[in-house]
């Protein structure tokens, strides 16, 4: 067995603490031939905490930096600045060798299960493989553990000897989940885990995630552009826009009383399954600007209907009220009695 990486901490220490995270990529495009390449700031000063046992959702449009944030946590992308702490231990700048025991505790599930699975390995072997890599248990035990877990994610014995191409999309995602869970991680990062699945299968996977959370005490970082799924599954939610968190708070509160104009527009844009009911839509003009050249001041102001002169000049800070409902907007009205 590995040495335990868990250091005893006061219960107040969050499982994951992210502070002022920045990440920039060099764009391939040059403005001038042989000129400098432009920098794309994918993540620009993101901070949040995830408590143990919590399901934390990150939502936003494509290109807002939600996947990059997840990759920064797992060191799959290099942060330019900022800190990621797991149970108080700093993760940025760790060597690959130091990362290896941590990978047992932090696992990742991607959108496309077929791309995540080895096409030439049987299902059971794929789920056993992490145990071999981390040198856990003996052969018989590994097999037993993998079989048990595959059954508990809802696969039959007949599936275990199959190859990924013989399974349906939902079954493949179950295999990916089992492979991520076999190491008994504490934090599971799911990046759009159900977007590639059919509606009826999506519900199966969402229910499975909820059940696993209950049974295994799993902490979830759930990234999705589907707000209704996030609303359903997550305890707390962060809304990202152009690399920044614009609003964060308890899911029920954020969805029932969104404060940031962007969150309001996002929620109102969800088509409701209610024919004949005209929805009051707050339309957003245009599309998100390029992260290579973000607008000055508040990044949302060119699309915001409440933007004032101040929004064009200054960038609002993320301010929280007593219920930990935070918003980065000058115009957002936080009731006075709730000010932190």
């Amino acid at each position: 067995m590995m040495n335990s990486i868990v250091t005893p901490e006061a219960p107040a220490t969050p499982l994951l603490r992210i502070r002022n995270l920045h990440c920039a990529f060099k764009s391939k495009a040059r403005t001038v031939l042989f000129g400098p390449r432009s920098l794309i700031h994918a993540v620009n000063g993101v901070s949040f905490d995830i408590q143990a046992g919590e399901a934390f959702g990150v939502v936003g449009e494509s290109g807002c930096g939600k996947s990059t944030t997840a990759k920064l946590v797992l060191n799959m992308a290099r942060a330019c600045e900022g800190s990621v702490q797991y149970r108080g231990q700093e993760l940025t700048g760790l060597s690959d060798a130091a990362w290896k025991p941590l990978r047992r505790k932090l696992q990742y599930v991607f959108q496309d299960p077929l791309g995540a699975l080895d096409p030439r390995m049987r299902v059971l072997d794929q789920v056993i493989e992490p145990l071999i890599i981390h040198q856990l248990h003996d052969r018989a035990q590994r097999r037993q553990l993998a079989e048990d877990l595959l059954h508990s994610v809802g696969l039959q014995s007949s599936h275990l000897g199959k190859y990924p191409h013989e399974l349906s999309g939902g079954q493949r995602q179950r295999v990916v989940l089992a492979r991520a869970l076999i190491l008994k991680p504490e934090l599971l990062i799911c990046d759009e885990p159900i977007s590639a699945l059919d509606v009826s299968i999506q519900a199966q996977i969402v229910n499975l995630l909820q059940q696993l959370r209950r049974d295994m005490g799993l902490t979830l970082l759930f990234i999705s552009h589907d707000l209704s799924i996030v609303r359903h599954l997550c305890d707390r939610v962060a809304v990202m826009y152009l690399g920044q968190v614009v609003e964060m708070g308890p899911a029920h509160q954020l969805f029932s009383a969104p404060r940031h104009p962007y969150t309001q527009a996002l929620i109102s844009a969800i088509p409701k399954v209610e024919p004949g009911v005209p929805r009051e839509r707050i339309s957003l003009v245009g599309e998100p600007p390029s992260p290579a050249d973000p607008p000055h001041g508040c990044r949302f102001h060119p699309r915001c209907r409440q933007a004032t002169e101040r929004c064009r000049q200054q960038s609002p800070e993320l301010l929280s009220d007593r219920k930990n409902h935070a918003v980065a907007c000058f115009e957002a009205r936080i009731p006075l009695e709730e000010m932190a």
Binding site: V199, A203, Q210, L227, S228, K272, E274, S283
Partner: protein, 330 residues
């Protein structure tokens, strides 16, 4: 009123060296003028293939049976010469991924002008072409259309590219648009903009639209009538309102129940158990029976036909859900 497009008992079978696969198994589809029809179903239900069959876009290994009528006249969708007159001018189709519908090495302007030239009877001059292109872009709500003409598809976002494709489609002024998952690849705010655009095409131009999608929310927002497909058959059809409020087929109800609602606090979703069967697994009975909680032995031995109580809502189920029961479910 004469329907614009009509299919009668449409069957599509794909024949390969190894096997024959029946993908569409008897579809009756009627599209009236100015109607927005939703085709709903999971992947593999045959909704795209039905549309491709009507457009004559299927590969050579597809065998078509049944009848397709356009404006009351039979349409031989596998006759390329006949279809090239209809395609674009009467019937047009847009797809999920606008990037793959556009040519990456030509400017938007060049591609748009080509579409206009192909669809005009006269030979417009360069200036007239450009003006028409700008007008079309303005119609679909593209900001600064003059500059966009010089752009290449990769320089534009997915939402703008989808607008470009819609502008190209408008060049032929078709009376029926088939939109195959037009918003699936787009963000939710952009999706709402494209849905508004499609609705305005119907309201202002009287264009009929067949909207193929798996997103029931989109369907509820825009469609007049909905056909729910499962394994190559229509299992339920009716107006959007009745179908969503009072689904009679267990599959329709299952689809609705598996959606999380932004306005509800329910703890667990109700998924449909199991998976969509492969076409070679289909037997004599109802294709949905293995996943259906109401299924009885008769469901496995014979397949129910589409039936109706009121003439408007059709469903193919031996044990339809009572109208009142599912009111609370949503």
């Amino acid at each position: 009123m004469q329907p614009l497009l009509e299919t009668r008992d449409l069957h599509v079978t794909f024949v390969t060296d190894e096997c024959t696969t029946q993908v569409v198994r008897g579809i009756d589809l009627t599209v009236g003028s100015g109607e927005i029809i939703g085709l709903v179903g999971e992947s593999g239900s045959g909704k795209s293939v039905t549309c491709m069959a009507a457009m004559g876009l299927l590969d050579d290994n597809a065998r078509l049976n049944g009848e397709i009528r356009w404006n009351g006249k039979p349409l031989d969708s596998q006759d390329d010469a006949a279809m090239s007159v209809v395609r674009g001018n009467a019937l047009a189709m847009i797809f999920q991924d606008p990037m793959s519908a556009l040519n990456p090495v030509q400017t938007i302007g060049k591609q748009l002008c080509e579409a206009i030239r192909l669809h005009s009877t006269t030979r417009p001059g360069r200036k007239a072409l450009k003006q028409r292109a700008i007008d079309l872009l303005r119609d679909v709500g593209v900001p600064a259309p003059e500059e966009r003409l010089k752009a290449y598809p990769h320089q534009l976002s997915g939402g703008l590219n989808q607008r470009m494709v819609i502008a190209m489609m408008l060049a032929g002024n078709p009376s029926l648009l088939i939109a195959d998952e037009p918003t699936t690849a787009l963000d939710v705010t952009v999706q709402a903009q494209i849905i508004d655009l499609l609705r305005s095409l119907r309201d202002e131009r009287g264009m009929s639209i067949i909207l193929v999608t798996h997103d029931l929310g989109v369907v509820a927002q825009i469609c007049d009538r909905v056909l729910v497909m499962y394994c190559g058959r229509v299992v339920e059809s009716g107006t959007a309102t009745t179908l969503f409020r009072h689904p009679r087929h267990p599959y329709t109800q299952g689809l609705l129940a598996s959606l999380p609602r932004i306005d509800s606090n329910d703890d667990a979703l109700t998924p449909i158990p199991g998976v969509v069967p492969q076409s070679h697994e289909l037997g004599e009975g109802c294709a949905f029976a293995p996943r259906c909680s109401h299924a009885a032995s008769s469901c496995y031995s014979s397949s129910p036909d589409l039936q109706s109580n009121d003439g408007a809502q059709l469903f193919s189920c031996f044990f339809p859900l009572p109208v009142h029961e599912n009111r609370e479910h949503r």
